[in-house]
Amino acid sequence: MQIRISNSDGVPIYRQIANQVKYLVAVGRMSVGEQLPTVRALAEQLVVNPNTVARAYRELETEGVISTRQGSGAFVAGNGSPLALRDKQRLLNERLDMLLAEASHLNVDVSTLIKMLRDRSRHLPAE
């Protein structure tokens, strides 16, 4: 599980951890039943306070992304897509805004951009 903490983007560290775990699960880089590092191990790996990691894990458990078993650690939960619509939008909107701004600078209008997106997506391997 590879997570990066940024000090400069104004997002609280526990939220950065929770968001990135959600992302890793959503894109299939972590699979159902996979074990997460212990709070202590992740705190040492990221060099952040253990309570911050514990808080991220609590949030993830409340949202149903992971489940914790007494004494044996935390695991990716198995109940469907862990990303709520709101989270998906939040993850994507930032990138969309940047893309739109860039397109506008390059004089590419939105309908052309949508067509380009569709063309690109045909080149990606299917799920």
């Binding site: 903490i5 000090n7 400069s8 609280p12 060099v47 306070n49 253990p50």
Partner: protein, 311 residues
């Protein structure tokens, strides 16, 4: 072993034993200047307590009181429930200390430094010391005076950690060090608290480091505690707003509720502490709208509060 020399600590009630450091109404003057002015704070077991403030704000003076190097003339200081001046062995035997200037005996080699500390600390763990020496790539035969700044810091860290202190005190430990050695110090902090029941107090002006590792932050300003709260509370109660004014502002706009204000022309950035409604109303009166609202970093909060004029 070391607890045999600590009758007071054994007698302490469980609730008191949870408070590792208790400072009450501590005032210290050097000449006419108050280096510490009515400082009260408490540090609970298992906490990483970050002490921040500009140079000369009183951080080191406070730490010197905790170590018994200065006697509390007004107010009181207790560490493990003990007075560090009256019971230096009881306090210092359970404290690991690393200072900014890392005052180590220059003429010693690493092997001699380890033996010297072993004699002082009953709880010294030689296996752990040897492991740290290896991790830090310290040559056992090298003299401290011939070491680089980073290696001296690592030697100091080894000496501060190898008796597994109940309280680790770091005074500006990262000052002037490269990122690799700073990383070693931060990792040592995390490992210390991850071991149940141990406590860390560290002062730093590197706010991004404090934001990563601290549970609780106290902000000293001109010898006073300007703010002391859990880190998450501090971060969540402050907001950074970007205001866009309909008319370009040639002078700083008057905005009640703003801790700091910077910008020019149409767009100004404001850091505020829980007074968003007052600020919103003032902005509306001046013909400005809030175009961005985000959470500021601890660094921005600190800078905003440092620039605040005295009330």
């Amino acid at each position: 072993m070391s607890s045999a020399t600590l009758p007071h600590a054994v007698a302490a009630k469980p609730a008191e034993a949870q408070t590792i450091v208790q400072v009450e109404h501590l005032t210290r003057r050097f000449g006419r200047r108050a280096a510490l002015d009515d400082v009260s704070l408490s540090i609970r077991r298992g906490m990483v307590f970050g002490l921040v403030g500009e140079n000369g704000a009183g951080k080191t003076t406070l730490i010197r009181h905790l170590l018994g190097l200065l006697r509390a003339k007004q107010g009181s200081v207790r560490v493990f429930g003990l007075d560090p001046v009256l019971d230096p062995v009881g306090v210092l035997g359970r404290v690991g200390y690393l200072s900014e200037d890392r005052d180590l005996p220059d003429w010693m080699t690493i092997t001699q430094l380890i033996r010297y500390n072993q004699a002082f600390y009953p709880a010294w763990d030689n296996t752990f010391a040897e492991r740290l020496r290896g991790d830090f790539e310290l040559d056992p035969d090298q003299q401290i005076r011939r070491m680089s700044r980073g290696q001296r810091a690592r030697a100091g860290l080894l000496a501060a950690l190898a008796h597994r202190p109940d309280l680790l005190v770091l005074d500006e430990p990262s000052s002037g060090l490269d990122p690799v050695v700073r990383g070693d110090i931060l990792t040592a902090i995390i490992r210390t608290v991850a071991d149940e029941g141990r406590t860390v107090l560290f002062s730093s002006h590197l706010l991004d480091e404090v934001e990563r590792v601290a549970d609780h932050v106290a902000f000293l300003r001109h010898g006073r505690v300007a703010l002391s709260a859990p880190l998450s509370e501090i971060l969540e109660s402050h907001r950074r707003l970007v205001l866009r004014f309909a008319d370009s502002q040639s002078a700083r706009p008057e905005l009640p509720g703003a801790l700091s204000l910077s910008g020019a022309g149409h767009e100004w950035t404001v850091v505020t502490n829980g007074q968003i409604d007052a600020l919103r109303a003032a902005a509306a009166r001046l013909g400005a709208e809030i175009v961005d609202e985000t959470a500021p970093s601890l660094d921005e909060i600190f800078v905003a509060r440092s620039k605040m004029r005295e009330a």
